[in-house]
Amino acid sequence: MRPQHLVTFPRMLHPGAWWLWALGLAAAASRTQNPVPLLLILVVTGFVVAARKSDAPWARSYGAFLKLALLVIAVRVVFQAVLSSGSQGPTVLFTLPELPVPGSTGIKLGGEVSLEAVLRAFYEGLQLATILVCVGAANALGSARRLLRSVPGALYEVGVAVVIALTFAPQLVTDAARVRAAHRLRGQTGGLRAMKRLAMPVLEGALDRSVELAAAMDSRGYGRTREAGPAARRLTGLLVLGGLVGLCVGVYGLLSGTSADWMGLPMLLAGTVLAAAGIHLGGRRTGRTTYRPDPWALPEWLVACSGLVAAVTMFVTVETDPASLVLAGITAVPPVPVVAVMGILVAMLPAILAPPLPRPTPESTTRTHEMEVAA
């Protein structure tokens, strides 16, 4: 057996596998507001991230997304408390001073805050927060940039554009900070005019860099592809675009749960087939090769499938036992959807099934530290 099929062979897992796993969990979270599976999903992502995250800069994004998720919940609860109408539940927690608002708007500021209103806001916020944390986990485990390396040849140009944008955005921010500091030296304070003055040198710098980059890419052979006829190009474009639209509609149909049947699985499948055909056709004409493509081996399948299991068990529960996913009353004790919970627990397996990360050599870590000092 080749080493990349071993779950014990230290290497970086294909970022695509992590994204599929996280999307599976996010899909599961999108179908319920029952706090039991939602909290369980949060725990599972946290556990797996703790077990398998690297010390790369993007691995810190899990914490950032977690903070964002808490903020989402807090905002939701506070708004509900301030803006709720007293009719939402009988259990009054406390009464805020009320602000008179013209009656016809139907909005009320302050007044009685009920336990039911706050709980409902909390559950709704928790769902959104869980989906956010799933995305954060995917980002922390599989770098979005590395994922772009694996885009098929037909989408190569799009991938390059995104990578360049990802590099330029932080560069713009540092440039802006530098220029702002310089303007202070000319005795200028903030204000709207300062914005205009800031834009000029920053954009000029960005333009200069873009031209430099284009020259560098040109002299390194970018765009030396095998030429294809306009008809073939148009066909590829049409197939890829149509496929992507199909995929989007399919995913929407599957997740929303309220749309017509044809919008779900059939659309998803049709879209996948179309997009795959387009990508295959486009990939044939690029003439590019890929250096050390990330392998897709057994551990990738296992990780991606464990996420899929969580999603599938949730969807099955929606069909067979919908009562276990909704709360009888908003203050009632939440039921435990056994099948879905089992599925989510399966998604915890990547903590062991994903290969361990190679240990960084002591030399490279000390050097990184030195660089930070220098910067």
Partner: protein, 542 residues
């Protein structure tokens, strides 16, 4: 290998050609150095080699450029990717991917080489350039020298026969520059690559060159020949060549080693003469005081207890490797960094507490990229704005700029100025408010010799007029010319603070070429030597 046959280049909208009737043959395996003032057409010449001029830049190219048998008329830059490797001025802006390994593979991926070949070549290139332990590192975390080596490696993987580099060391500190030049040296000697590079810092590269091509600009004919021949009569010359001229050595020496071996008689001749000590004879009152300054990041102080005083009339050079805290000290002096402990006082105030409108009356800083200070669409409007900012009578800045850099049309866009002119414009803007303390961060980056000489004169005049000047720089020759005191920082602490000869003469990395040649005598510049030989024993210094 490279052949220019009656080549003229005219850019769209330009009145006169940038290059006219260039005839040039560069044989295989040579290291060819292209020199000339900024704006003389060096970059155009380099870019014509791989067809970026005119395919990418536009404009008209007449005549023929043939590289390894391929005419650039029929071949676009991308078609020459496996013949010519081109490395631009700023390596970071030419990077397409984000890690070292991917960057090395990028060119090969574009050419569609099979994966096995790519894998092998990446490993070979990592070893060749000594990048093996950096292979996984994000490009933005590399030092300047490492980035430049990655940029070279990324074009080498396609196995080109020619390597073209545009000012590969101008933005680097001396150690990083040596790292890059040693690499180039190895490529020429071990792999037989033909290397063409443009460079302003001649003192660093001229000793390695097999051929020098002088691009005089203004439509005058291009001169090429052996380095000693071309430099003997050329206005652009490194200190070692200037010393050779002063001492009457023919042909002029190109390296410190050359000169040192011929310098014994000169040293004898100079033995009895007192070397000027370059110190400020009568410093005025102190304009800035730094005491026990600690500042930096959380649990990561960049400055660890720095104390110093700057007085009127002094030109203090701040030296030290990258990351030693030079820029941080300058930032603390303009209040961009708040002390964690210790004090910073500029004109009796803490600069961090001063409003911007008052700050500029006490201290002025010309940043590393002078263009950061500029944002208007013409020189004239820039000057008017500076008058308003500083609250001085209109015309003050224009007059200052005219004095520093005469003859620049007022309607010119600041971006179209040369590096040197842009620096003087930024300087004029900063000086409009007459701050007693003037700070410059790496002022000689990208300056040619003419602009540097001008800067030296300007700085001397400013010090004589009672300004205190502090410059953070890697340029030892500039320090030798203009410094009255040197402060060396290492790891956030002051490790040396004293007169220029005391600090630099014995230092292997900070000694100027003349000091290395004439050590243990404490001569710093060719001018000092010339003046001493002419029988004048004291040199008037501001």
């Amino acid at each position: 290998m490279i052949e220019f046959d009656d080549v003229s280049v005219t850019f769209a909208g330009a009145r006169s050609p940038v290059l006219s009737n260039v005839d040039l043959k560069i044989p295989e395996g040579e290291l060819c150095l292209v020199i000339g003032r900024t704006g003389s057409g060096k970059t155009t010449l380099l870019r014509a080699i791989n067809g970026l001029v005119p395919h990418f830049s536009g404009g008209t190219l007449s005549g023929r450029v043939v590289v390894d048998g391929r005419d650039t008329r029929e071949h676009r830059p991308r078609d020459l990717a496996e013949v010519v490797g081109f490395v631009g001025q700023d390596p970071l802006s030419g990077f397409v991917t984000d890690t070292v390994e991917d960057e090395l593979a990028y060119g090969m991926e574009s050419l569609g080489l099979p994966p096995e070949v790519m894998r092998k070549r990446v490993e070979e290139t990592l070893d060749l350039l000594g990048l093996a332990d950096l292979r996984q590192r994000p490009l933005t975390t590399l030092s300047g020298g490492q980035q430049q080596r990655v940029a070279i490696g990324s074009v080498l993987t396609t196995h080109p026969r020619v390597l073209v580099l545009d000012e590969p060391t101008s933005a680097l500190d001396p150690l990083a520059a040596e790292e890059v030049l040693a690499t180039l040296q190895r490529l020429v000697h071990d792999l037989g690559l033909t290397v063409v590079l443009a460079e302003h810092r001649l003192e660093r590269v001229v000793q390695y060159a097999d051929r020098v091509v002088l691009v005089p600009g203004d439509g005058e004919p291009v001169v090429d020949g052996l380095p000693a021949e071309v430099l003997a009569s050329c206005a652009i010359a490194p200190p070692v060549v200037e010393l050779g001229r002063v001492a009457g050595w023919r042909p002029p020496p190109l390296s410190v080693r050359d000169a040192r071996r011929r310098a014994a008689p000169l040293r004898e001749q100079l033995a009895g003469l007192p070397a000027p000590d370059h110190t400020c004879t009568d410093p005025g009152d102190a304009v800035a005081k730094v005491a026990d300054l600690v500042t930096g990041y959380t649990r990561l102080p960049v400055l660890r207890g720095v104390s110093s005083t700057l007085s009127r009339g002094e030109v203090v050079a701040l030296m030290g490797r990258n990351g030693a805290g030079k820029s941080t000290l300058l930032k603390a002096l303009v209040g961009m960094r708040v002390p964690d402990s210790g004090t910073v006082e500029v004109g009796g105030h803490n600069p961090a507490d001063l409003k911007p409108t008052r700050l500029l009356r006490h201290v002025g800083l010309v940043p590393q990229v002078p263009g950061d200070l500029l944002y208007e669409s013409s020189v004239a409007r820039e000057c008017t704005q500076a008058d308003k900012d500083a609250g001085v009578p209109s015309g003050t800045t224009t007059a200052l700029f005219e004095r520093l850099s005469p003859g620049v049309p007022a309607d010119q866009h600041p971006r179209d100025l040369s590096e040197g002119q842009r620096l003087t414009l930024a300087l004029a803007i900063v000086l409009a408010a007459e701050p007693p303390l003037l700070l410059l961060d790496e002022p000689t980056r990208g300056l040619d010799y003419t602009a540097k000489h001008r800067l030296v004169e300007i700085l001397r005049d400013l010090a004589a007029a009672g300004h205190a000047v502090m410059l953070a720089t890697h340029d030892v020759e500039l320090v030798a010319e203009v410094g009255t005191r040197v402060v060396v920082l290492a790891d956030g602490e002051v490790v040396a603070d004293g007169s220029v000869p005391d600090v630099v003469v014995s230092s292997p990395s900070f000694a100027p070429q003349v000091a290395k040649i004439l050590a243990p005598q404490a001569w710093l510049t060719p001018t000092d030597v010339a003046v001493a030989l002419a029988g004048v024993t004291t040199v008037s210094r501001p």
